[in-house]
């Protein structure tokens, strides 16, 4: 009876959709009754279908290309000449990839770019309007450079491509995209986390009793930080370009709030305790006799640090400072400082509030105070910088031409525009390929922004796309930014973070998240006024704090008399789709404020709306979703689901399950397992594991060898590990299906016996069954690339590929055995250590001109294979790179079976190396004759507490017996009791423990053994890549000591601690041998008389051979003596006889 419940049913419906929903969870058919409580999770695949895992990157890049580029052009539209006032050039429009008249995008396919080491980019076209003589010319489609294109963005040729077109282009349909291809390498711009811009953050240092409110103003031109700080209980304004703190009252007076009463009203309102705290500040201003705006401005003018070409008066300096430098993100029009005055007053009020109540400070680590900067924003910063530089260069070259007094013909500016187009192209390429973002405008120098997309496994590539790196220093020992914040719930994965120095600073997005892009402020502002917000410009200072303030992106725009009603109405408008679904609105009761946020970089996630104690999503909706009649976006439009960002989430009351809904609940979670990200989602039953184990698995899942992509055999990567027979896990999770891990798995279902065996299994070592390995368990393949470029030299010579050399019998010599007649390795041939696979020759003379050279001569420079094990040639590619030089890539393949010391891991952070490989007949077996593939030591369990692994075994065993794939989804999955029931029904013990017979004695084992399938991953660390030993070998030139490191065939160092042991033991001759004879023994001639070294039995200082004695010392010692001699220190060797007492 259980069987039927668990059997799967296939259904045929909408093709693409069915993919996502297959196999139907818990065998539910379409005709089955739909239970909202259990089936609302179907919204998740629907969400991922629309959004995908890397949608944030794509959205941000699309926004940059479609919207931001046009804004940048608009902001820098004019190029004028200093010389000719008549001249102008105006940018009218900008497009990427497309010319104005065609919709075609001319680009090389991405895979070709990968193979040929090129950049996947599209031309940037601008339409310009400029003067040529007296004419105004409009010119369309002028190429100003090339823009690297993010894969799968809307400018990419893969955008919206079907699986068939993807296959034709040699692309993997499961590849998420979201990265760039620059010079053939795949580069990801990691999401950068930073404190939100243009927001007031209040902090307090309780020890020093300092309270400060700060705001980082960020505009297109500059970035600056303004502080309102307390000092000796008085409040000051601090700014980097003002030399000292300015009393706050003076600042407010400079802003035009002259009356002390009004200042008090703006800052404190009617609150008498605030008034008491603030009152002291008036004293300073009056002591300095500053009463008017002019006096205040002049005071500030004297404090400003500026470097200007033409001097301004002090008053002008003051006006300039208040208008542009302080709180720079507020623009001042017509010298109306009112808005700025209010902003500063509110900052001051926040400081006063924090002085009065120390709990009124903000938390820097709160996710709601963070913004994520994505590829698009970073690209836009970079592009604007490059575009400005481009325009400057362009202007300079125009000026140069126009300066010439008598020009013969009319000057066409178009001629000089193309000269500089390379600057944009190479600037973008260089930034992405090096990861150094240097922006002249902000004096910003940021390294490590981009990373090479790790293609170790599908999961590692996917994990990289959801990674968020923080701006905090890794070296600083602070726990705050590293700690798990409660506000991360549902937004950032709770498990996936690296161990060690970057712990907690590098985070990952959770499964169901979205990162917003910028939205227009102006319409929202107007909407607020329509909804009854009183315009801030019309409110008199006395009643400013009587009502709730309405803040748009941190700036006060008005007050709301009925904030609850206002917020409610605003939300209704959002739910009906009248305004963008990503605009958030929330009330802050402590600050008496309603915040409306439209800026980009906020993380948000969808939640089901609950109204009157009932979930808005009913079974009928889910039914239509399953039928394909509704999409996720329809749920948004129908007002069933809405996006909440962290701040608004904090203003809501969210139920985890439908059963928890009661009075006051506003939202319902879609699915609890979305607190985890894509990588942590692989773990079966993670809610039964000790938390760090899940974190360890997140790191290890990225090292697992498996299938990488559908085009894995067409790729030529530097190093690729592939598994020969990967299997999808017996115990899946819903996340596994959603991210297609079951299609590109990395591991195999091994039958595991948890018992001790042979003693070679201590310290997490595993015992492997030799027959399992013979049959293909854990087999993997490595593919290594070698690239050569046939260089061309200035004297018209170039590198060539020689043929193969043959011996007297006409057979190729051993070194050339794997070469073909063309001098390149033949596909399929085996190459052994010492053999040549690219027979390259370089010209001996590459500098002189050809004329002086009689015949071009070549020196052999072959590529020789050096490795302990032979490889096979998999692919040979010959192409032409960007600069017309021949590019040769050879891919070498190695097939590896597991061996002693190879590393394996289950999905629960339980890694282990292979300790012994045992013959099948020696392995224990059960009643059915089944032998384990792996024997795992039970000591791995008690201290690690990975109960999830045990449940995985039981579920896996039940699945095997039942013919089903079981689920180990977080906070759900197949229930252990059901699994035990299946075991019992199939004649097994309910606990998953079997009676085994010893393969060696043939008798029963005295204990029952936990026995069943567990998904094991083979990790990339293999003995073959690490083993190293040396008897004799290369030595370093300077010291004549053995070289260091495996790659240089180095020696193994007997270090100082080992030396200490040998000394303590008293084995002096051993020490002598290890430290000198086996290292850098050197015979020197020492003069016994002067103690200096001579040579050939002659002492050069004594001019005699009389006292010269040969002794053996380390070469390093000899070197030291000579180095000392060179700095006028004479070390003298005083010799004595060893055998004299």
């Amino acid at each position: 009876m259980l069987k039927s419940e668990h059997s799967h049913t296939n259904h045929t419906k909408d093709d693409t959709f069915e993919q996502l929903l297959k196999p139907v969870y818990k065998g539910k058919k379409l005709t089955d009754e739909i239970n909202t409580a259990e089936d609302k999770w179907n919204l998740l695949p629907a969400f991922l279908k629309v959004k995908g895992l890397v949608k944030q990157h794509l959205d941000s890049f699309n926004y940059f290309v479609d919207v931001d580029l046009k804004k940048i052009i608009k902001a820098n539209e004019m190029v004028l000449s200093d010389v000719d006032p008549e001249f102008y050039l105006k940018y009218v429009d900008i497009r990427v990839g497309q010319r104005s008249n065609s919709s075609r995008i001319d680009m090389l396919p991405p895979h070709e770019c990968r193979l040929r080491d090129m950049t996947y980019s599209a031309p940037i076209y601008v339409d310009i309007e400029y003067t040529r003589g007296r004419l105004i010319v409009l010119h369309k489609d002028v190429e100003i450079g090339k823009m690297p294109i993010m894969l799968r963005s809307n400018k990419c040729i893969l955008n919206g491509a079907s699986e068939e077109t993807m296959a034709k282009l040699n692309e993997c349909p499961l590849d998420p995209g979201g990265y760039f291809i620059v010079n053939g390498t795949e580069k990801v711009i990691l999401v950068q986390e930073q404190l939100s811009k243009n927001r007031i953050i209040v902090e307090a240092d309780e020890k020093k009793s300092i309270v400060q409110a700060s705001v980082t103003s960020s505009t297109h031109e500059r970035k600056s930080k303004t502080y309102v700080v307390t000092k000796n209980e008085k409040i000051y304004l601090k700014h980097n370009s003002i030399s000292e703190e300015v009393p706050i009252v003076i600042v407010l007076k400079a802003c035009g709030v002259v009356s002390d009463l009004e200042i008090m009203q703006l800052v404190c309102g009617n609150n008498s305790s605030y008034q008491d705290i603030f009152a002291i500040n008036f004293e300073e201003a009056s002591k300095m006799n500053i009463y008017t705006q002019q006096q205040a401005l002049e005071y500030i003018g004297t404090k400003v640090k500026t470097i200007r070409r033409q001097k301004l008066t002090i008053l002008q300096e003051g006006i300039e400072a208040i208008a542009t430098t302080v709180i720079a993100h507020l623009t001042v029009e017509a010298l109306d400082f009112r808005e700025k005055a209010l902003y500063i007053a509110i900052m001051t009020r926040r400081v006063v509030m924090a002085i009065q109540n120390c709990k009124m400070v903000d938390d820097r680590d709160y996710v709601g105070n963070k913004r994520l900067e994505l590829a698009g924003q970073l690209m836009s910063l970079l592009f604007e910088d490059l575009f400005k530089k481009f325009n400057n260069d362009f202007k300079a070259s125009i000026d140069k031409v126009l300066k010439k007094p008598n020009r013969a013909e009319m000057y066409d500016a178009l001629l000089s525009i193309n000269v500089h187009s390379n600057n944009i192209t190479s600037g973008l390429n260089r930034a992405i390929s090096t990861g150094n973002w240097s922006l002249k405008r902000f004096k910003m120098e940021r390294a490590g922004v981009t990373h090479v997309l790790s293609r170790l496994s599908y999961i590692s590539a996917l994990g990289m796309m959801t990674r968020i790196s923080s701006q905090f220093e890794k070296s600083r020992k602070v726990s705050g930014p590293r700690a798990l914040q409660p506000s991360q719930f549902g937004m950032l994965c709770t498990s996936d973070t690296p161990e060690g120095e970057a712990c907690g600073l590098v985070k990952n997005l959770a499964l169901m998240t979205h990162i917003t892009t910028d939205d227009e402020e102006e319409p929202i502002k107007r909407l607020c006024y329509l909804l009854g917000v009183e315009d801030i410009g019309l409110i008199d200072s006395a009643s400013l704090h009587d009502n709730y303030g309405v803040y748009l992106n941190g700036t006060i725009i008005g007050t709301a008399r009925y904030p609850t009603k206002f917020v409610h109405q605003f939300r209704i408008l959002r739910r009906t789709g009248k305004i963008s679904e990503f605009i958030s609105i929330y009330t802050n009761i402590h600050q008496n404020a309603v915040h409306i946020v439209t800026d980009g970089g906020r993380i948000c996630r969808p939640l089901i709306i609950v109204k009157n104690g009932k979930s808005m999503v009913a079974s009928s909706h889910l039914k239509r979703l399953l039928d394909g009649k509704l999409q996720f976006d329809d749920f948004l439009k129908l007002g069933l689901v809405e996006y909440l960002d962290v701040n608004e989430e904090n203003d809501s009351f969210i139920a985890l399950y439908e059963k928890d809904i009661h009075e006051g609940i506003t939202h319902l979670e879609i699915e609890p397992f979305t607190v985890l990200g894509a990588v942590a989602g692989l773990i079966p039953y993670p809610h039964h594991n000790q938390s760090p184990r899940n974190t360890y698995q997140c790191a290890m899942g990225k090292q697992a060898i498996g299938a990488i992509a559908y085009n894995q055999f067409k790729r030529i990567d530097t190093l690729l590990y592939l598994m020969i027979y990967p299997q999808q896990p017996m115990v899946k999770t819903k996340t596994i299906e959603l991210i297609d891990y079951d299609k590109l798995p990395a591991g195999q279902n091994a039958t595991v016996a948890v018992m001790s065996y042979s003693g070679y299994d201590i310290e997490d070592a595993l015992v492997l069954n030799k027959s399992s390995i013979d049959r293909g368990f854990g087999r993997c393949e490595t593919r290594k690339k070698t690239t050569t470029i046939l260089k061309r030299y200035p004297n018209h010579t170039q590198d060539i590929i020689g043929g193969m050399r043959v011996d007297e019998n006409g057979e190729p010599i051993w070194q050339h055995k794997s070469l073909g007649p063309d001098g390149l390795g033949e596909v399929g041939m085996k190459v052994e250590s010492g053999q040549i696979y690219i027979n390259k020759s370089v010209p001996t003379n590459a500098s002189d001109s050809v004329l002086t050279q009689s015949q071009s001569q070549y020196r052999e420079a072959p590529i020789i294979y050096r490795a302990p094990e032979p490889s096979h040639i998999d692919q040979v590619m010959m192409s032409v790179s960007d600069n017309d030089q021949a590019l040769i890539k050879v891919l070498l393949r190695q097939n590896r079976r597991p061996e002693l010391g190879d590393k394996f891991s289950s999905r629960h952070g339980q890694k282990g190396v292979c300790g012994i490989i045992v013959q099948q007949e020696d392995m224990p077996f059960n009643d059915q004759g089944i032998c384990p593939d792996i024997i795992m030591n039970p000591h791995g369990f008690p201290s690690r507490m990975t109960v999830g692994k045990m449940i995985e075994l039981v579920s896996g065993k039940a699945g095997v017996l039942n013919g089903t794939l079981e689920y180990g989804t977080c906070f759900g999955g197949s229930k252990l009791a059901d699994m035990s029931e299946i075991l019992i029904n199939n004649g097994f013990n309910y606990s998953g423990k079997d009676m085994l017979y010893s393969g060696i004695t043939g008798e029963c084992l005295q204990a029952y053994v936990f026995f069943g399938p567990i998904y094991y991953q083979k990790l990339k660390h293999m003995v073959l890549d690490k083993m190293h030993a040396r008897a004799r070998g290369p030595r370093a030139v300077l010291t004549r000591q053995p070289t260091e490191g495996r790659s240089r065939d180095g020696g193994l160092r007997l270090g100082e601690m080992e030396r200490d042991c040998v000394i303590a033991y008293g084995a002096s001759q051993l020490l002598l041998e290890r430290l000198m004879l086996s290292s850098d023994a050197f015979e020197v001639d020492v003069c016994d008389k002067c103690g200096l070294m001579g040579y050939s039995g002659w002492c050069t200082s004594c001019k005699s051979a009389e006292h010269v004695i040969k002794i053996t010392i380390p070469y390093a010692a000899k070197l030291l003596f000579q180095e000392l001699l060179s700095m006028n220190i004479a070390p003298r060797l005083m010799l004595g006889d060893v055998f004299q007492s």
Binding site: F713, G828, Q919, E921, G929, I984, G987, N989
Partner: protein, 334 residues
């Protein structure tokens, strides 16, 4: 000591055999051929060309286990060992395809071949006496008669899938006669080896030689050979009524039943999988005792198809006998 292995809730007791000389003062356990001849019993319950199920009764675990071990790893059989590629333009790598071909069980009587001397140079190593040559030459082409709109590669192309049956035997020298009656074939013709698409081609030759399972699992003549001990169930107290029904349910069908008195009894203990389910329920505590007969081995031998299971078993007996003989004749023992 009883010869029943005790199956308890969380442990197994009395697992080791004790009937050897010197174990006890009271009894002389010295081995007696006549006694062994009288008590030793073989019962065959199932036999076909692929699978055998038989009981060995009154025999020591060490002997039974020796047969099992020898069947798995020491009975020789023939498998592909050397694969020579002439052309392989398919997506599957040479090494992987060679590995797959190696694992294909072949229907060859191992007695027809002699052992290959691996110390000889490769040119002289293989003769018609010790090597069977197979070849695989396939080329995939588009099928012009494919039904319109079909997406099945098997219909669209010829030779899209390469199966073990595509391995063709190439008799060498004397083999033309000796193998005339029993040409070398894969025992299972439908093992998928590779998939091709039009224009791709595989051409290779395979040398199949004699080997043992200990060297590589492909030489093992059995899928598995194993045994289990005969289950033994004692009802200590009568179990009646609802408990009886529950008791019966604790076993696989056919093991326990209820008699006309409404009491549970054991019908056929052999069918039990020893899931120990009864021991989990408190109502049966002390009423039932599970065990297994220590010297009753229910063997199950699954052949890969090269030899019949009984032949494999007999060979294992012969190998054990030869080993014993060798040991007996060993100069050290004399």
């Amino acid at each position: 000591m009883s010869n029943i292995v005790g199956i308890e809730y969380n442990r197994v007791t009395n697992t080791t055999s004790t009937d050897f000389p010197g174990y006890s003062h009271n009894e002389d356990f010295s081995w007696d051929v006549n006694k062994f001849r009288d008590t030793m019993d073989v019962q065959i319950s199932h036999l076909d060309d692929r699978e055998a199920n038989f009981d060995l009764i009154h025999i020591d675990a060490s002997i039974a286990n020796a047969f099992r071990r020898i069947m798995i790893s020491e009975v020789p059989s023939v498998a592909a060992e050397y694969v020579y590629f002439f052309n392989n333009t398919s997506v599957i790598q040479d090494e992987v395809l060679a590995h797959r071909i190696g694992l294909v069980p072949l229907k060859v009587d191992p007695d027809m071949l002699t052992w290959v001397d691996k110390s000889l140079p490769e040119a002289e190593r293989f003769t018609d006496e010790n090597t069977v040559v197979m070849s695989l030459n396939v080329k995939c082409t588009a099928n012009p008669d494919a039904p319109k709109g079909s997406t099945d590669p098997k219909e669209l192309y010829n030779n899209a899938h390469i199966y073990s049956r595509d391995l063709k035997f190439e008799p060498q020298g004397k083999q033309l006669d000796s193998f005339a009656k029993h040409p070398v074939l894969p025992t299972d013709p439908d093992i998928l080896l590779a998939k091709l698409r039009p224009g791709q081609e595989i051409s290779l030759r395979v040398h199949c030689i004699l080997g043992v399972g200990g060297d590589h699992a492909k030489f093992s003549p059995v899928c598995t050979a194993s045994y289990r001990l005969m289950p033994h169930i004692d009802i200590l107290e009568t179990i009646q009524g609802e408990d009886a029904t529950k008791f019966v349910k604790c076993f696989p069908p056919g093991v326990a039943a209820i008699d006309e008195k409404g009491e549970a009894y054991i019908k056929d203990a052999r069918k039990d999988t020893v899931s120990r389910e009864v021991l989990r329920h408190p109502e049966f505590e002390g009423k039932v005792k599970l065990g297994r007969v220590k010297d009753h081995f229910i063997f199950n031998v699954e052949s890969t198809g090269a030899m019949t299971p009984e032949e494999i078993f007999f060979k294992s007996v012969r190998i054990l006998k030869n080993k014993a003989e060798y040991l007996k004749n060993c100069p050290i023992t004399q």
